[in-house]
């Protein structure tokens, strides 16, 4: 299975939809250990993304991903703006000027995104951040081949476990780190939004295969 530009736009719109649906939920998670804006900012960013890419069906996949990244960077703000923005821009670089993205490309692209986030945020696994859901997912994707929808499903499950894992740990990066011990027991908003985005990719692809 391969995804062309029109389908890539559909997938990203699916992300936008899930983020919008989870806007209040993400904001509430952020209210508990941050500053109550994660859902608001992400929704604002993805709304802008949807508008920007709506007329880009004739562009290559890398260009579309770059636009997503730059739009997120310039509309989301806060910590998640540059992080997700960098992730999409790195994904764009890994994609190049391809017209289609195949399942085989997915591990490389998501790994590039992960590395981008790590570079930008200087965080690693276990610090209660986006990485705690993204890294396990990427690991699964890279663990066996060929990559297929089934493997992606496992990756999404791993991300979900990663979200669960954030509940038990102390935040060491981002705004929640000011809470120290008191951050324990709360689910990380960024890890959650990342899981939601991965789930959106899976659900969109599954729909397309039907």
């Amino acid at each position: 299975m391969a995804v062309d530009s029109a389908q890539l736009i559909k997938i990203i719109n699916h992300m936008a939809q899930y983020i919008e649906e989870n806007k209040d939920f993400l904001t509430e998670l952020d209210a508990a250990i941050g500053d109550a804006d994660h859902g608001i900012n992400m929704a604002k960013g993805f709304k802008a993304v949807s508008e920007k890419i709506s007329s880009m069906e004739d562009k290559d996949c890398g260009t579309i991903l770059k636009t997503v990244g730059m739009t997120l960077v310039s509309t989301v703000g806060g910590a998640s703006g540059p992080l997700y923005g960098t992730a999409f821009m790195r994904a764009s670089q890994a994609t190049g000027t391809k017209d289609k993205i195949t399942f085989e490309d997915l591990p490389t692209i998501l790994d590039a995104a992960l590395e981008g986030i790590k570079m930008r945020g200087k965080a690693q696994k276990g610090e209660k951040t986006i990485i705690d859901s993204l890294e396990p997912a990427v690991k699964v994707l890279k663990s066996s081949s060929p990559a297929d929808l089934n493997l992606l499903k496992k990756a999404v499950d791993a991300a979900k476990d990663g979200v669960e894992y954030t509940k038990g740990i102390i935040a060491k990066k981002g705004r929640a780190s000011y809470l120290g011990e008191r951050s324990i027991g709360h689910q990380d908003p960024g890890a959650t939004s990342c899981y939601i985005m991965l789930k959106a990719i899976y659900d969109a692809l599954e729909n397309m295969q039907k």
Partner: protein, 332 residues
């Protein structure tokens, strides 16, 4: 939500427009961006200072744009750091050829957004240096975490680094002066009430009728303890104890003091706090060189205040005393 606004979505832009209309002698708004720059920017040959952060901390940061302080301030959404494209535009607009110092408060978002902007501007050949302000002793400092937050002490960085730049300092000199301030400034605050981000429409946290939060962050981040309301003197004693022990500030030191209202706390109460501040410092034989009282780094309509101490040497004193002419900080 009782606010004097038109639409929660437009507060930042309308605020900047209202500010530009009020102070054409000091600032102008960069068309299409949430950036305020000095009317006469770029100042040829002068190191330019760019600061900024989320909105809702007025007069920070645009209130300090003007002679002897900042060249540009970038305004993010309320309590959200500005995006790199905005910061990039600010840098480009004020670079007078001598380089640009970015003054960043230590929040993950601020650091990443300013860094991305710096990369973009450096790509264009602009000389950039960065300093990160982290004066809030309510948060434990550690290499392995995000570290302390940047709060009201940032205003002293603006003032003193601004004076250094105005006096003709090079980019490295201005940066070193800013870092000297950062190394010698410590703050801590408290809140009696939360505040409401317009877009959220409800208070960002809750406090009981008789409760207060000690060590609060300027975005309502939780502090070090929640307690029943204390008397003004007790609050001051508690904050000063934490602050003076941190650096530490010791007998014989000379300091500048800032009592900073967070929004809804009247000047009357800030003065009552300062009465005790001056008493305690006298007891500790720490000499007060100059005192600043008022609203410098606010949290919308939060009730509460912070105390900042800056340890001074001769260079810092001279720069602190230098004349400044901005909308919110003037000194003859």
């Amino acid at each position: 939500m009782k606010k004097v606004i038109n639409n929660p979505e437009n507060v930042v832009e309308e605020m900047l427009e209202g500010m530009a209309a009020a102070y054409p002698q000091y600032v102008r708004k960069l068309d299409g961006f949430d950036v305020m720059i000095r009317t006469n920017a770029p100042v040829k040959g002068k190191v330019a200072l760019v600061s900024g952060g989320g909105s809702g901390h007025e007069p920070s940061h645009a209130g300090f744009v003007g002679k002897g302080m900042l060249d540009a301030a970038v305004a993010g959404a309320v309590f959200t750091s500005p995006t790199p494209d905005q910061i990039y535009e600010a840098i480009k607009a004020v670079d007078g050829g001598a380089g640009v110092l970015l003054i960043i408060k230590n929040y993950t978002g601020d650091i990443m957004n300013f860094e991305m902007a710096a990369e973009m501007a450096e790509g264009d050949g602009v000389n950039i240096e960065k300093v990160v302000v982290n004066d809030d002793v309510a948060v434990e400092d550690s290499l392995y975490t995000t570290g302390r937050r940047g709060i009201a002490g940032t205003v002293f960085v603006h003032k003193i680094a601004g004076a250094k730049a105005e006096a003709g300092g090079t980019l490295v000199e201005v940066k070193n002066t800013a870092e000297k301030v950062i190394n010698n400034v410590r703050s801590m605050g408290f809140a009696l009430t939360p505040c409401t981000v317009p877009a959220a429409g409800k208070p960002n946290f809750t406090l009981g009728e008789d409760e207060m939060e000690i060590g609060i962050g300027i975005h309502g981040e939780p502090g070090t303890m929640r307690t029943s309301i204390m008397k003004a003197d007790e609050i001051v004693d508690h904050l000063l104890d934490k602050i003076t022990k941190d650096l530490p500030y010791e007998a014989g030191d000379e300091v500048a003091v800032m009592v900073n209202g967070l929004g809804a706390t009247p000047l009357m109460e800030q003065f009552i706090m300062n009465r005790r501040v001056s008493e305690v410092l006298k007891e500790k034989k720490i000499k007060v060189y100059k005192t600043f009282i008022g609203e410098f780094m606010t949290s919308l309509e939060m009730a509460g205040a912070s105390i900042t101490l800056l340890k001074l040497d001769e260079e810092l004193k001279t720069l602190l005393d230098a004349s400044a002419d901005t909308p919110a900080f003037r000194q003859l």
